[in-house]
């Protein structure tokens, strides 16, 4: 478990409504600082600037999907230890296995409860080495 609390979250999501709900959930319920990215191609830049504790990626996005973005992140040495959580509506066992094989920190399936989301993320955070 990291020796600091989970505070800074970078969230990559194309759907503006869900962006808003997640932002409210994390800021108001979880008292966290959130940076939201709508365009996945801008994500690398934002992460570099914002220096989050954790990155949340949507699975299905136009232009570039979550797994592709994740692979690009992994190619950068400075982002190697950065925990990544996927939010997905496709929760088949095969998909979950695929995510696990990519080395992601955890998954949250849609729909999630905004009341519980900060706790779910903190639970994943606490299990990190």
């Amino acid at each position: 478990m990291p020796n600091r609390p989970l505070v800074r979250i970078c969230y990559v999501e194309d759907d503006e409504d869900i962006q808003r709900i997640v932002r409210m959930s994390l800021e108001r319920v979880g008292k966290m600082t959130v940076a939201v990215v709508s365009d996945p191609t801008q994500a690398i830049q934002t992460i570099t600037d914002f220096r989050p504790d954790m990155v949340i990626l949507d699975w299905m996005m136009p232009v570039m999907d979550g797994p592709t973005l994740y692979r690009q992140m992994k190619m950068r040495p400075e982002m190697k230890g950065l925990p990544v959580v996927f939010i997905t509506a496709k929760a088949s066992q095969r998909d979950l296995d695929e995510l696990k094989s990519l080395g992601c920190a955890g998954t949250i399936s849609k729909p999630f409860s905004p009341k519980d989301l900060p706790d779910q993320l903190r639970a994943i955070w606490s299990k990190l080495p």
Binding site: I18, S92, P111
Partner: protein, 606 residues
């Protein structure tokens, strides 16, 4: 007979193959001829000759009596004549009795004894004549009598040839007394003649012995031949029968061949008959229709004509595998180009036909066009995936927003507005449950459900399910009560899916229980399985609904749907999940009212 002599003699080369085969033939003759039959034939031969013996004795006796009468031995001659007549009569009666006897084969040894006695009597009667009369006769009469004895002894050879011991007895009867008379006569010439008598006797017996062997061999051969002929006849009969059977089998094979050809010709699937080298030898009408070629264009050509050129190499490898392993393949999907260049995807069943030497003689390929089916499956999958994403994403926003409001995250709201947002959240949740149920049943029914089985402690699982559904029960003012605490009661199953089943059963029980009542959950061991039961105190299940309860989209009546909510898929999903985990599910009415829903899963041994 020549062979027989060689075989019996000591002069033949013992190692020659010819002799071996002669011996083999002899052995075969001996094996085939029934010795009782052979003896009976010899006895019959002896009796056939009997009239000659009787006639010769009677006539010669009469002549001798005539010649010898009028002398001082008048009475003795008449007595002798009486003996001859008695013999002739007795022998005739014996002959008559033999002809009348029923079973000449079984009683042959007995008849042989009787004719032996008769022959001895016959010989003895002549011997008596020699012994009594010879000394007192004139020289001429002595010559006459000696001539008569020699003649009678000679007659005995053909008469008794079928049994040399009988001839020996007969001749001994005649010549024994004669020899004695001659040797004791006191005349040198007679002594010399007497010494010749045993010699002639021995020669005659030797001739009779040879003749007996000839007769014996002849009869044996006759019987062996009879048996052989009989065997041959039976063999022919059997061969004939087998030929008939083979002909019948051939007709049946031909008939089934015609039937098979008819099936192949009329079948809606493409059937190709291929040679082991991949040359097409026959195609049916459906194949012509499917690939757009006429039969004549395909037959004689390689089957690779129906495979895209870029796959020819892979096809060669698979074909070689098929011919080597000689095992049929089914469910093989191949991209087959039609004559007009459009690709079809066909599902093939390929069966090599193998002969008794385990060589492939032909390959039958049966193909079905599954292009449209695969396309439909792909579209269905895409649709399901789209439905899953496109419906869940807006629902995430709706439920998320409502939960933020109803959870007080946005501050206090007007109670009336709060009531409405609660209604909105509850119904959004219901919509989400419905979508999840539809996706679940689709996944299960398309066979794509993957289970993650693990060892599950049953009582612990029940406690967890009760805890998870406590809030739902409280909505209907129903409490869940679980009993049982057996840590070794375990099953091997998918934990998440079991919780899903439990949640379904518990929420159903809560929905249909009267307010304030309790729902009992029990676990027990049943034979090789573990049984989990949920008992409610509701009004029970209507009779008309019982058979449909595990079907899709079923609920007791539409009023219930409106009142209680639910997709009507819950129990259908439960049944399919439990059956996938090798269990069974069911329900019973309870005597005091209410229903028990139960499921059983194979017990996991520690």
């Amino acid at each position: 007979m020549n062979h027989s002599t060689t075989a019996n003699g000591t002069s033949g080369a013992p190692s020659s193959t010819h002799e071996v085969s002669t011996k083999a033939v002899e052995a075969e003759i001996r094996d085939r001829a029934d010795p009782r039959q052979v003896l009976a034939d010899r006895v019959a031969q002896l009796y056939r000759q009997m009239p000659v013996a009787i006639g010769a004795t009677f006539i010669a006796g009469a002549i001798a009596t005539y010649e010898l009468q009028g002398r001082w031995l008048q009475e003795l001659v008449l007595i002798w004549w009486a003996i001859v007549v008695t013999y002739s009569t007795a022998a005739s009666l014996l002959l008559y009795a033999y002809h009348r006897s029923a079973d000449k084969v079984a009683s042959a040894p007995q008849w042989l004894r009787w004719i032996g006695i008769a022959a001895l009597g016959n010989g003895a009667s002549w011997g008596l004549a020699g012994g009594v009369f010879f000394r007192s006769l004139s020289d001429e009469q002595q010559v006459f009598l000696a001539f008569l004895f020699a003649g009678m002894a000679a007659v005995g050879i053909p008469v008794y040839a079928a049994s040399w011991p009988i001839f020996a007895l007969y001749a001994a009867g005649i010549l024994g007394p004669f020899f004695y008379v001659l040797i004791t006569f006191g005349n040198r010439l007679f002594v010399e003649i007497a010494l010749l008598v045993p010699l002639f006797y021995a020669v005659n017996v030797a001739i009779a012995y040879r003749l007996t062997r000839v007769f014996h061999g002849g009869y044996r051969l006759r019987h062996a031949y009879g048996r052989l002929a009989e065997d041959h006849r039976l063999l022919n009969q059997r061969l004939g029968q087998q030929l008939v059977e083979i002909e019948e089998a051939r007709r049946q094979v031909e008939a089934s061949g015609r039937k098979l050809a008819l099936f192949a010709e009329r079948a809606p699937i493409a059937v190709l008959e291929l040679q082991p080298d991949g040359t097409i030898s026959e195609v049916n009408h459906a194949a012509e229709m499917l690939f757009g070629y006429a039969a004549a264009e395909l037959v004689g050509g390689p089957v690779k004509k129906l495979v895209r050129p870029e796959f020819h190499h892979a096809f060669d490898d698979s074909w070689h595998d098929l011919i080597t392993r000689r095992e049929s393949i089914s469910g093989l999907k191949i991209r087959n180009p039609r004559r007009d260049g459009i690709d079809l995807i066909c599902e093939w069943t390929i069966t090599p036909l193998v002969n008794f030497q385990n060589e492939v003689i032909a390959v039958i390929a049966q193909g079905r066009d599954v292009t449209a089916q695969l396309e439909a499956e792909r579209m269905k999958k895409e649709f399901t995936s789209t439905l899953s994403h496109e419906l869940r994403t807006p629902l995430t926003s709706i439920i998320g927003s409502l939960q933020l409001i109803n959870g007080g995250v946005m501050g206090n709201v007007d109670p009336e507005i709060g009531e409405l947002t609660m209604v909105a959240e509850r119904n959004s949740q219901r919509l989400l449950d419905l979508i999840n149920d539809v996706l679940d049943i689709e996944t299960i029914e398309s066979g794509k459900l993957t289970l993650a089985p693990e060892v599950v402690q049953v009582d612990e699982l029940v406690r967890e399910a009760v805890l998870l559904n406590k809030a739902f029960g409280e909505r209907f003012k129903v409490r869940f009560e679980s009993h049982g605490d057996q840590p070794d009661r375990r099953v091997y199953a998918d934990r998440k899916r079991l919780l899903q089943v439990m949640t379904n059963l518990l929420s159903n029980a809560a929905k249909f229980s009267p307010e304030g009542s309790a729902v009992d959950i029990s676990t027990e061991d049943a034979d090789q399985s573990v049984r989990i039961a949920v008992h409610d105190r509701g009004s029970g299940i209507p009779e008309t609904f019982r058979t449909r309860i595990f079907g899709r989209f079923t609920q007791a009546d539409s009023t219930a749907t409106r009142q209680k909510g639910g997709s009507g898929l819950g129990l259908a999903i439960c049944k399919r999940l439990i059956e996938r985990m090798d269990g069974r599910i069911g329900f019973d009415g309870r005597p005091g009212g209410g229903t028990t829903f139960w499921f059983e899963l194979p017990r996991h041994a520690a």
